[in-house]
């Protein structure tokens, strides 16, 4: 009896989903657009920094140094000038974001008399770019110095980056976008569809029928879980193909994690739907409560470990925090349950928390 009443609910929802072709198309196109925007814009590698060079030395050594800097993809040499006093004007007019000043006595210094000091100047208004420019230039100059046989450091630092050896930002960013999109889409779909039934009065019409609250919830959850799961497979696949994000781990583990994560997202949507009366408010609330915390506090951009304690605590109840560790672990490191179980448990706990609160509130509202 109870099974046969669930069937028409699920069936009706699928008709809604597939009849509204435009919304369905948006659901698949929007994540691709977002992935383009984030995937390319949140490129932590800085390229083509506008560079000014003031070569007072004019020696073969200085020209060799300039050639190597110019050959780097990180810099585009925009201005060559001869008077160091011009430097400030060039920065002020935004002609350059970084500058190198090579002193007149470079060669003398290189041959052992004193320290070969080359000035590196960067525009601190964009601190991130400035730091990167400075680091790149310093390492380039150090290589030059080593090649010239001087400036040897007492200890040689050799850095090896694991899992993402080329430090390609998109490999780090794309799984993050997947986490962001899934929580947003899951919550948005659920809250808006329930709010719509409230708006049109059909929810009330269903509630005077013998349908049980859990049937109403499942009648919404099953179709939208299927839809959201389809979107998940699509955008992860897209990330792998377009951004060449590696998939070192198991698809099965990843998809299982996605299901748990999406269930949590749907629960958030259900919870929101109990708080609002209209589709518009449902949409706004879903976007704010999922996107904002997931971008700022989940470790998507800013590492959780460097947050102050209160924010670290909050980050633990944000589902994306745990899913990010899992999806990055599976895709980039080839992790399995053996390594990921603490995050899996945490995500499950957060999921169960949201689902039980949502169902409690939903029953209460009936």
């Amino acid at each position: 009896m109870s099974h046969s009443r669930l069937t028409p609910l699920v069936h009706k929802e699928f008709i809604h989903i597939f009849r509204d072709r435009r919304s369905l198309a948006i659901l698949f196109i929007m994540p691709v657009l977002m992935m383009f925007v984030f995937g390319y814009a949140i490129d932590m590698d800085v390229k083509n920094i506008r560079l000014g060079i003031c070569d007072l030395s004019r020696t073969p050594q200085s020209r060799a140094l300039i050639r190597s800097v110019a050959a780097s993809p990180y810099f585009a040499v925009k201005v060559r000038y001869t008077d160091p006093r011009q430097t400030e004007d060039l920065f002020a007019s935004r002609a350059i974001r970084a500058a190198i000043i090579i002193p007149r006595n470079l060669v003398r210094h290189l041959s052992g008399a004193g320290n070969p000091a080359v000035a590196v100047i960067a525009d601190g208004t964009d601190a991130n770019t400035a730091t990167l420019a400075q680091n790149y230039l310093e390492s380039l100059l150090r290589q030059q110095a080593l090649a010239a046989g001087t400036g040897t450091l007492p200890v040689t630092v050799k850095t090896r980056i694991l899992y993402n050896p080329d430090m390609i930002s998109s490999h780090f960013v794309v799984p993050g976008i997947v986490a962001l999109l899934l929580i947003m889409i899951g919550a948005l779909l659920t809250s808006v569809t329930i709010a719509r039934e409230k708006e049109t009065g059909t929810m009330e019409q269903i509630l005077v029928s013998p349908i049980q609250p859990h049937e109403v919830v499942l009648g919404k959850a099953i179709p939208y879980l299927v839809l959201a799961f389809g979107i998940a497979v699509f955008i992860i696949g897209f990330g792998c193909v377009w951004f060449s994000v590696p998939m070192l781990g198991s698809w099965t583990y990843l998809m299982t994690a996605c299901l748990v994560y999406l269930s949590t997202a749907l629960a958030i949507g259900l919870l929101i739907s109990t708080l609002v009366a209209t589709q518009q408010v449902a949409m706004m609330l879903s976007l704010v409560t999922t996107l904002l915390p997931s971008v700022m506090l989940s470790g998507f951009v800013f590492p959780v470990a460097s947050m102050p304690l209160p924010l670290r605590v909050i980050s633990q109840v944000i589902p994306a925090t745990h899913f990010l560790v899992i999806i990055r672990g599976i895709m980039l490191k080839g992790n399995g349950p053996a390594e990921l179980w603490p995050s899996v448990l945490a995500m499950l706990a957060v999921g169960v928390l949201f689902i039980s609160v949502a169902i409690r509130r939903f029953r209460l509202k009936l």
Partner: protein, 260 residues
């Protein structure tokens, strides 16, 4: 809230069709408050089986709140009641299988076809596929829906939507039908047609509990209750009411009672 309103304990003229065995609806001192606001204030009445019971009142008089308590959408603050002999608080799950409900908004799924809406609500009430098919065939004819079955519900004019909403509400053959301002959005011809259907339904034994603020519709009811500020100020047959106040129309009585 003025003092000259009849208090509910003033005994009023008895019902026309005597409440047989168990009444279809019976409430005693039903009360619902929202904060300080008393929406329904110690209301008591009985509705006999097969009766068309009209619930009259201005907007905000407490009609919809009463219907919501009877259909289990809202819990009463105090008082008791039964629907089809079942307690409205403890047995509301069972009550829901025996009642039909149609709201003033004709709550249907606009993106579903007429046929799909019917089979959806049939399924929701746990009717088997073959039973749904049979009932739909019956109602198609009775409510003149045949030509609309393949149409998208959202594209229907209000009169057709109203008939479809009624069909969805009686698909499972409820013993009591609750109609909350069912004729609000339709033209006079559709209203007339709708009331003919309601009379036909009552003729087959269905109890109809209907709220309205159209006074001409009140004349179709076997019995009326006039509600004002959460209280029932008059309850009797249209003829008795007019006689009692020596007026020619229910509308005059209503205005006399409510707008003093």
């Amino acid at each position: 809230m003025t003092d000259d309103i009849l208090s509910p304990d003033q005994k009023l003229t008895p019902a026309k069709p005597k409440p047989s065995r168990a009444a279809a609806v019976s409430v005693q001192d039903l009360t619902r408050t929202f904060g300080d606001f008393v929406a329904v204030d110690h209301v008591s009445f009985d509705v006999a089986r097969g009766e068309i019971f009209g619930f009259l009142g201005a907007n905000g008089a407490g009609k919809t709140t009463t219907i919501k308590m009877l259909t289990g959408l809202l819990a009463p603050t105090s008082g008791t009641g039964t629907v089809d002999g079942l307690d409205i608080v403890r047995r509301r799950k069972t009550i829901r299988t025996r009642i039909g409900y149609m709201s003033q908004r004709f709550s249907l799924y606009d993106e579903l076809k007429v046929r799909e809406n019917l089979s959806f609500f049939g399924g929701v009430y746990g009717l088997s596929r073959s039973r749904v098919a049979q009932r739909v065939a019956d109602l198609e004819e009775m409510l003149n829906l045949s030509a609309l079955m393949g149409r998208m519900t959202g594209s229907l004019p209000p009169g057709n939507k109203q008939r479809l909403a009624l069909a969805c509400a009686i698909l499972h053959e409820p013993s009591i039908l609750f109609l909350d301002e069912p004729t609000g959005a339709v033209d006079p011809i559709a209203r007339r047609y709708f009331w003919d259907l309601i009379s036909e339904l009552a003729g087959t034994g269905t109890t109809v509990f209907v709220t309205t603020h159209y006074m001409d519709e009140a004349e179709y009811c076997h019995r009326l209750s006039i509600m004002y500020a959460g209280r029932i100020v008059e309850i009797s047959s249209p003829a008795d009411i007019k006689q009692k106040y020596n007026m020619t129309s229910v509308e005059d009585v209503f205005i006399h009672l409510v707008d003093r």
